[in-house]
């Protein structure tokens, strides 16, 4: 039988190298081992994973502070003027052999004439900022991978529940927990497809313009007082810039695909993002005006006095700005109802039309990571950041022991609260996406330019006047302001309880079908 003439260009069979075969074998093995265990004990595994990660986080913070104290003490003993000389990248440490610094760290052991213990050798690298950076980088990288994978799975479950179905149930057993990793493996192994007419270099480069900024946004995003990769005084502007740069990837991807749908998607994205950046930034300026700083760490620390000190309840303008910011952030993450760039009923898949496999996955990772960053910004700027609703000075009587620190980390402030609030925002984004219909492009731009933009300007002006009045020191005004703030806090509390009640009601009745399944006979049949 002769060969068929195929209308497309023949491509050679892809050869799987050792690495990819190894990865596949590894994944299969892990899956085979993990599935029975996870299927049997899903709840306890989830719980112990959370506890273990909290413990890891605390352990590393404790380790760092222990080493810091040791280095500082030793520096004071030696009489070094600048403790930083023991820090990293300073020429004086380059020349020292490890044992000397080990002795420095061990302190007492050196005094007694013993050789420094194994522990000091193990701790030696931790004093260098570079090592700490590598650890923190590993943590960020892991988080950056975990968030999209599990939010995608969660989104499919939420979408299923909202539409009275189950969502992924098969892969991995318990509620399809392995659906997203399996999808990821599928995407990585897919054929790498680049259209002939595409600008291939830009087509390949575009996903990286999406994923690098959204990863870099995590650099300045604080998870807690000490859990920041780099504390920057302009952290807020930096993160906004990173979110803004992501547009470039969509435009480039759309243009380089050389496909009408893609270009339309890219153009829509550009319009929408450039327009919504303005109300988003201006809504974020409202808490900045209240606090007087662009440093996210400082803004978070200001809100440590419990529920009523959170910035959303500081004044009425901030409360409205919170809602405005949430709407604008939906648009900037191209989430529904603003998902015009990838509107599947109009543009096939928008800028993603020609993308497949790994590059497509990169776009999605960037989108979900950006959703987390946007939720994190909302958390820090409006909802108290990593502080719990309980005022932190209630914990003053607990003391300073390790156990007290741990308890404070759970009860009063800590990364766990930050992550919980971000998860709340993620859930809001999913809920909105699967509830509201998509709006037209002219409606999107109308909502931005004629509604949100004037509104945020009024809010910014109003909050400026409010801060000015508060700083004038008028006693009557202070009373009025605190009453207003309490009222707003109670309204916020009511919203929070309402949210929990509705979501809980939905979850409790998740097996009940909406409406009647019995379809009335069609007229005339």
């Amino acid at each position: 039988m002769s060969q068929f003439a195929v209308p497309w260009r023949e491509k050679p069979e892809p050869s799987h190298g050792f690495v990819s075969s190894f990865i596949v074998a590894l994944a299969k093995g892990i899956y085979a081992i993990a599935t029975p265990i996870v299927t049997r004990f899903p709840g306890s595994i989830l719980l112990s994973a959370v506890v273990a990660s909290c413990f890891l986080v605390w352990a590393h913070a404790l380790l760092f502070s222990y080493v810091d104290t040791a280095v500082l003490e030793r520096a004071a003993e030696v009489g070094a003027a600048n403790p930083n000389a023991f820090g990293y990248f300073s020429p004086s440490t380059w020349g020292l052999p490890p044992s000397v610094i080990g002795t420095l760290l061990a302190g007492d052991a050196a005094v007694e004439g013993q050789s420094p213990g194994l522990l000091s050798y193990l701790l030696w690298p931790v004093q260098f900022g570079f090592t700490r950076d590598m650890i923190a980088f590993g943590a960020i990288f892991a988080w950056f991978n975990i968030v999209p994978v599990y939010v995608i799975w969660w989104e499919r479950k939420v979408a299923g529940r909202i539409q009275s179905r189950l969502g992924p149930m098969r892969v991995g057993g318990w509620h399809g927990w392995a659906q997203s990793p399996a999808d990821g493996i599928k995407l990585v192994l897919k054929e790498d497809f680049i259209p002939d007419a595409a600008d291939s270099i830009l087509f390949r480069a575009a996903p990286y313009f999406a994923i690098i900024p959204s990863a870099l946004a995590f650099v300045a995003l604080p998870f807690g007082v000490t859990y920041i990769f780099r504390e920057v005084d302009v952290a807020l502007v930096f993160i906004l810039a990173m979110l803004g740069i992501e547009v470039m990837s969509v435009i480039l991807g759309g243009w380089a695909s050389n496909n009408k749908w893609s270009v339309y998607g890219g153009m829509r994205e550009a319009c929408q993002m450039v327009a919504y950046e303005i109300p988003m930034g201006m809504a974020l300026l409202v808490p900045v005006v209240c606090v007087g700083s662009l440093s996210l760490k400082y803004i978070g620390e200001v809100q440590a006095d419990g529920w009523f000190s959170w910035l959303a309840f500081r004044n009425p303008f901030a409360f409205v700005a919170f809602v405005t910011y949430f709407i604008a952030s939906l648009a900037s993450c191209k989430r529904a109802p603003f998902d015009l760039p990838e509107a599947e009923s109009e543009l096939v898949a928008g800028f993603l039309t020609e993308y497949s496999g790994f590059r497509w996955a990169l776009f999605f990772f960037a989108e979900y990571a950006a959703m987390f960053v946007v939720g994190g910004l909302a958390t820090i700027m409006f909802l108290g950041g990593w502080n719990s609703p309980i005022p932190s000075d209630w914990g003053a009587g607990l003391g300073e022991s390790i156990w007290a620190k741990g308890l404070k980390g759970i009860l009063f402030s800590g990364p766990i609260w930050f992550i919980l609030k971000c998860v709340f925002f993620l859930f809001l984004q999913l809920w909105v996406r699967w509830t509201l219909p998509r709006i037209r492009l002219d409606q999107v731009l109308y909502a931005c330019v004629q509604v949100l933009l004037p509104l945020t300007m009024v809010l910014l002006f109003g909050t400026t006047l409010w801060v000015w009045a508060s700083e004038s020191g008028n006693a009557t005004w202070d009373v009025i302001a605190s009453i207003v703030s309490k009222v707003l806090g109670i309204v916020g509390l009511a919203f929070g309880f309402g949210f929990v009640a509705i979501a809980g009601y939905g979850f409790y009745h998740r097996r009940r079908l909406v409406g009647n399944l019995v379809i009335d006979p069609l007229p005339g049949s």
């Binding site: 930083n84 820090g87 990293y88 990248f89 300073s90 020429p91 900022g129 950076d133 980088f137 990288f141 600008d199 270099i201 830009l202 480069a205 990286y208 313009f209 690098i212 990863a215 870099l216 650099v219 990769f229 780099r230 504390e231 920057v232 005084d233 302009v234 502007v237 930096f238 906004l240 810039a241 990173m242 803004g244 740069i245 547009v247 470039m248 435009i251 480039l252 243009w255 380089a256 050389n258 270009v263 153009m267 550009a270 993002m273 450039v274 950046e277 662009l294």
Partner: protein, 190 residues
């Protein structure tokens, strides 16, 4: 790729030495980061002038702007760096790309310059660069051996509404005029 992320991340903020978190002046780290970032700037600037396709030029401009922003972070000008990213890379450049998309019939459109002009431009630019370098080599700057501590954003903000209030307001007026003018120019004729 993750290495690139790491490099950009650590070069953006370097080893914290003062409030702005820039790399310690005179350290080896600063030198290494400087050469990496400067290499980025030079390569992307050359990319802009060599590229023939207009969208590729815009992408090279994007990398040039981003590396210049990282260079500002190295110079302890965090605010300028962040503003460069948000206004230049996130706003102006998008506008340019928009302009490209609205004015190109075919994506592969190119306008070639005559050979003679290319040669002349090369001679002029290389000559200018060499003479500038000679000049810089001979210049004796007063008291510039040591970098000063970085300026915090609060200082800049305060200066903008006291010392530089008039230019600041003028910038606002200019932006307003530009907004009206650009909207007028680009609108559809009825």
């Amino acid at each position: 790729m993750s290495l690139l992320v790491l490099l950009t991340a650590s070069s953006a903020f370097g080893a914290p030495s003062d409030a702005t978190g820039a790399a310690a002046p005179g350290s080896v780290l600063e030198a290494v980061l400087f050469y990496i970032v400067a290499g980025g700037v030079v390569v992307s600037a050359l990319g802009v002038c060599i590229a023939q396709n207009i969208v590729r030029m815009a992408v090279w401009l994007f990398t040039a702007l981003a590396s210049v922003a990282v260079m500002y972070f190295l110079l302890a000008a965090n605010f300028i760096g962040a503003i460069q990213l948000i206004v230049y890379a996130g706003g102006t450049l998008i506008l340019l790309v928009f302009g490209v998309m609205l004015t190109s019939k075919s994506p592969w459109i190119r306008f070639e310059a005559p050979k003679l002009e290319l040669v002349a431009a090369t001679v002029v630019c290389v000559g200018l660069f060499l003479s500038l370098c000679t000049l810089l080599g001979r210049a004796a700057w007063e008291s510039v051996d040591e970098a000063t501590a970085g300026t915090s954003i609060a200082t800049i903000g305060r200066a903008l509404i006291t010392e530089y209030l008039v230019p600041f307001e003028m910038a606002g007026v200019v932006l307003m005029i530009v907004m009206v003018g650009a909207a007028h120019m680009a609108r559809q004729e009825k």
